[in-house]
Symmetry: C2
Subunit: 186 residues, 2 copies
């Protein structure tokens, strides 16, 4: 007895990540354990540690991969108002694919620290075009990130919009972006 717990094939990183993300989608990060993941993969729990440092490294890896998927950048020729809207919508769309994973990302900012470079690289030119003074751009970027990420989080976590359908939620998000654009003077 040794080979057949797993059906012939060897364990791959790909397979581990995919299965882990699926389980997070289904039962949340709280519901995922290394032991259950191993059971799902039909493997001894300890086999996982041959491919992954530990649970946190596994989760970080999964989150990183998804953060990288942000659609960038909106065409620079568009007015800044439109670019901001497109960016905000892209960010929100990203989070709706794997809401449970994103709840974890929000709760553990160290995971994505300095890895959302693409986002900031697009945001600053937009603020420049909106006429935000150089000295205020970092601050304004922080505020906008806090607003949009926070609103999306409040939405996925269920702080707001309880009992509303998807279209209503979309309208609320658009109203939010409108408010931001108006607040920036556009």
């Amino acid at each position: 007895m040794a080979v057949s717990a797993r059906r012939g094939t060897p364990l791959t990183l790909e397979e581990i990540y995919t299965t882990a993300l699926r389980m997070v989608d289904e039962v949340g990060v709280e519901g995922l354990s290394m032991r259950k993941l191993a059971a799902e993969l039909d493997v001894n729990p300890m086999s996982l540690y041959h491919h992954v440092d530990n649970k946190m490294a596994l989760l970080t890896q999964i989150c990183d991969t998804n953060v990288q998927r942000l659609d960038l950048p909106p065409d620079e020729s568009l007015p800044w108002q439109e670019r901001l809207r497109i960016l905000a919508r892209a960010y929100r769309r990203l989070t709706t694919d794997h809401p449970e994973m994103w709840r974890y990302v929000y709760a553990h900012p160290e995971i994505t620290a300095d890895r959302e470079g693409g986002l900031w690289g697009v945001l600053f030119p937009i603020l420049e075009a909106a006429g935000v003074p150089q000295g205020e751009q970092r601050r304004t970027a922080d505020v906008l990130y806090g607003f949009v990420a926070g609103l999306v989080f409040a939405e996925t976590a269920g702080h707001i919009g309880q009992g509303q359908d998807a279209e209503e939620a979309d309208r609320t998000f658009e109203a939010a972006v409108d408010l931001i654009v108006r607040g920036l003077g556009g």
Copy 2:
């Protein structure tokens, strides 16, 4: 052996809540366990269950008590812009007292569901005074809650403002509230 593990005095709910909150402040919710809490109280872990249903009920109780502490309401004679600023600042001040506890509140909205009634009761008249149409007030309230709670969360969690001092963080928050007021047409 029986009486002296605890020094004479009996366990009280007060004592349990206070000690638990202190431990959350120190090591976060993740670092709090029923067993460690019992050790801190010099008591058998199972004694806690005589006073508290389970860990989640304990945490919910602690959070509830603190949510209730929101300073309300700003004087109704002030202009709505000023009332909104005061409300936003009060909300932020509340979260800075026990940031680790608030990270938990944000991640578990079911805890405070329908318990922040005071906040909404003050917010709607402000929106009315700001000229937000009746049919849009619920939506606008959601957006504002998402913005402010989200920004504060981003701040306490460390998503934004990394390496900045308290004064700088205050200025960022004021800029955020300014943007909201402008966005509302004020």
